[in-house]
């Protein structure tokens, strides 16, 4: 093992091939009763066996294209982390081949290189150098790291005075500052408060859009469907199924919710299924024009620039089911408006109102706006809509005397398409994250 193996210098012209190619990789963990047996084993040159064998990986083959985001799911002990450790170069496979092209940053445990006695500042330096940054690069990025972590006022205190959430924020901030070609993340994102998690997701979206290859393990299926182009379901050291994240997630639920007796049958069913290796990307289709937009008369406010973006800030009108997006618009006030609130409403092509949201309740203490004020409004939403075309309204609502009226409103302000995918297990208009499970009882066993 050497760090050179995990961080090879890209060969000239290699930036077109796949980022990771794994072929028939097996990893058997020798289980030694005493650590000394490991040494005896090494010295015996294979003349004797001092261990029992546990097969952690059994012929795993996986290719990850440059810029692709792949999620690995599976029950505990299925070999996910072992696979990541092999790709990161921490473990040597017993058989098969592994080729990794590009600078790799592995986040197998957040803050693995932290020293609790030392301050946040010192730990940033240390951890960044372990992750492969030079002194000059660390100095360059130091302020950005602190800024991202939001821990500026604690940065000169020892990290053992940090809360566990703060600890994780610092570690993640260092890790994403590395700007790797390949980012490997193991279960690291399910921590931190909600605001910070959103920041992390946005940062990962940014990395994706910048072309970083991302490989990550998570038990949070919402994270997998949100972030991944493709997912892989592992069980007992084998890849059972690879394909579209939504369908991998439902197969994962099938497998993990299966009652003991049926598990084997369901496992072999999944193994026999071949999933379409569909890759669905959010996108922007300029030709996809909105012709039903209706703008109301303005009563002192004007809505502008209604748009849908990814969490990373990329403007889109083709959405992928299961991902999160942001609908936002700007409002400029041309006359004073009192008790203002903003709202949006999602509708089908036929005008069925699916879901809407105002910024506040009508009974809340609503703010007033003066002429000349500019406000930007955004609504982060999960794309739970099934494939098809949808519209969203945008509105500003204010009090005019005793009556509430629209200060400005645009019907069908944006039109977007939810892209078709391979998962036909969900039907209707919206996906409510229904989790099916089937308790199978064979007819023969009934009296």
């Amino acid at each position: 093992m050497s760090s050179d193996a995990a961080k090879p210098v890209p060969e000239p012209g290699s930036d077109t091939g796949p980022a990771i190619v794994i072929e028939g990789v097996t990893k058997a963990f020798p289980v030694f009763k005493r650590p000394a047996d490991r040494l005896l084993q090494m010295l015996s040159m294979g003349r004797r066996r001092y261990f029992d064998v546990f097969m952690a990986l059994n012929g795993v083959t996986l290719t990850v294209q440059r810029g692709e985001t792949v999620g690995i799911v599976g029950p505990n002990g299925s070999g996910k982390s072992t696979l990541l450790q092999i790709i990161a170069g921490l473990l040597q496979p017993n058989g098969g081949s592994v080729a990794v092209r590009g600078r790799t940053a592995a986040l197998l445990e957040l803050g693995a290189g932290f020293n609790p006695e030392f301050t946040g500042r010192e730990n940033i330096h240390l951890n960044a150098s372990i992750l492969g940054l030079s002194q000059a690069e660390i100095d360059d990025r130091f302020d950005a790291i602190v800024e991202f972590s939001g821990l500026a006022e604690f940065i000169d205190r020892p990290v053992n005075t940090y809360s566990s959430g703060m600890y994780v924020r610092l570690a993640f901030s260092v890790a994403v500052a590395v700007d790797p070609d390949i980012l490997i993340v193991d279960e690291a994102l399910a921590v931190g408060d909600e605001g910070f998690q959103r920041k992390c997701l946005a940062r990962i979206e940014n990395l994706r859009e910048a072309g970083t290859t991302i490989l990550f393990v998570s038990h949070a299926m919402s994270m997998i469907t949100q972030l991944c182009d493709r997912a892989v379901l592992m069980d007992r050291g084998e890849i059972l199924l690879a394909g579209e994240p939504k369908s991998i997630a439902s197969n994962y639920y099938r497998l993990t919710h299966a009652p003991g007796a049926d598990r084997e049958r369901i496992r072999s069913e999944i193994l026999a299924a071949t999933d379409i290796e569909a890759e669905v990307h959010s996108g922007l289709d300029e030709a996809f024009a909105n012709q039903s937009r209706v703008e109301y008369e303005s009563l002192g406010a004007r809505i502008q620039d209604v748009r849908i973006e990814t969490l990373g800030g990329q403007r889109v009108n083709q959405l992928v089911r299961g991902r999160r997006y942001v609908l936002s618009y700007a409002v400029s006030f041309e006359a004073p408006c009192s008790k203002v609130r903003f709202a949006t409403l999602f509708k089908t092509k036929t005008g069925v109102e699916l879901a809407g949201r105002a910024t506040q309740k009508a009974s809340d203490d609503l703010p007033d706006n003066a002429a000349g004020d500019r406000v930007s409004v955004s609504f982060e939403f999960p794309c739970a809509f099934l494939p098809g075309t949808y519209f969203a309204n945008a509105g500003v609502n204010a009090a005019f005397g005793t009556e509430r009226k629209s200060a400005h409103r645009i019907l069908d302000a944006v039109m977007f398409q939810v892209l078709p995918d391979a998962d036909d297990s969900v039907v209707g208009l919206v996906d409510l994250d229904i989790i099916p499970s089937v308790d199978h009882q064979s007819g023969a066993s009934l009296p």
Partner: protein, 276 residues
């Protein structure tokens, strides 16, 4: 994926790794030294205060109370035994510190083995480097003591770092072997304490080699401390030329030990993750 390290490729591999990871190396040595004095009120002052007090105790007990004499290399000159003793002890402190820490280096940093891509061979270099900085502070105290008690310092004292190079290589080689062995055989740590005592008594640190019978004298020279202790005294205390032949043989042995140590470490480190 990676080829197994061979005996021949090892020195180049290690050198390349240390150059590539110099930032980590510097960070870790700094952190190691700072952490010794972290949270103490006097901080880095202790780095000089500790050797100063140590020297004061030895000088007072052996020179003023016990009035021990240690024959000087310069005829008819009586030399302060406290200084002679201290000049040897600082090298013993150095080797002991590294050897005691070595068996736990990898075990204590299990995260570096399993969770991050880390050049493990750096750990021994950090331990040796940090102890070397401490040796530097001790040396400053030694020089001060010589100036205060003897009034002058031989010019040859500036050559001391040269005769220490082989000792550092030996310490590194031993550290790599112990760091690796410590992972597989936790018993190693317990042995080091007694080995360190043997290293002290089977050396010219406490008494002149000439005072021993001929047969034992040969054994003394097998101690990795003997040659550098004598050479350091030659350069700093007596102002005479060290035994160049002994230094040459010692240097050759040092290179071999460091080489074998590095090879052993690189060869066995693949197995660390399996048992940690």
């Amino acid at each position: 994926m990676t080829t197994a390290p061979t005996l021949l490729s090892t020195p180049a591999d290690i050198a390349r790794s240390l150059v590539a990871h110099r930032t980590i190396l510097r960070q870790l040595v700094r952190r190691d030294i700072l952490s010794r004095y972290r949270k103490s009120a006097l901080g880095m002052v202790w780095a000089l205060l500790t050797p100063l007090l140590t020297f004061a105790v030895y000088a007072y007990v052996f020179s003023a109370i016990l009035k021990v004499r240690f024959p000087s290399r310069i005829p008819d000159v009586e030399y302060n035994y406290g200084i002679i003793l201290f000049s040897g002890l600082i090298l013993h402190f150095f080797i002991t510190e590294v050897l005691v820490r070595s068996p736990n280096l990898v075990i204590e940093n299990a995260n570096f083995v399993k969770k991050v891509v880390f050049p493990l061979e750096v750990l021994s270099v950090v331990a040796a480097g940090s102890a070397l900085v401490m040796l530097g502070f001790n040396f400053v105290v030694l020089v001060l003591a010589v100036l205060v008690f003897e009034g002058s310092l031989p010019l040859s004292a500036v050559l001391v770092p040269v005769v220490w190079v082989p000792l550092v290589l030996i310490v590194l080689g031993l550290s790599w072997i112990l760091a690796s062995l410590g992972v597989f055989l936790r018993d190693v740590g317990h042995l080091i304490g007694i080995v360190s005592t043997i290293l002290l008594f089977a050396s010219p640190i406490l008494f002149p080699v000439d005072s021993l019978p001929e047969t034992l004298r040969m054994l003394i020279w097998l101690n990795p401390l003997s040659v550098p202790v004598e050479a350091t005294r030659d350069l700093v205390l007596w102002g005479t030329q060290p035994d160049l032949q002994a230094l040459a043989i010692y240097g050759l042995c040092a290179v071999i030990i460091a080489w074998l140590g590095a090879y052993w470490f690189q060869r066995t480190k693949r197995g660390f993750a399996d048992v940690l």
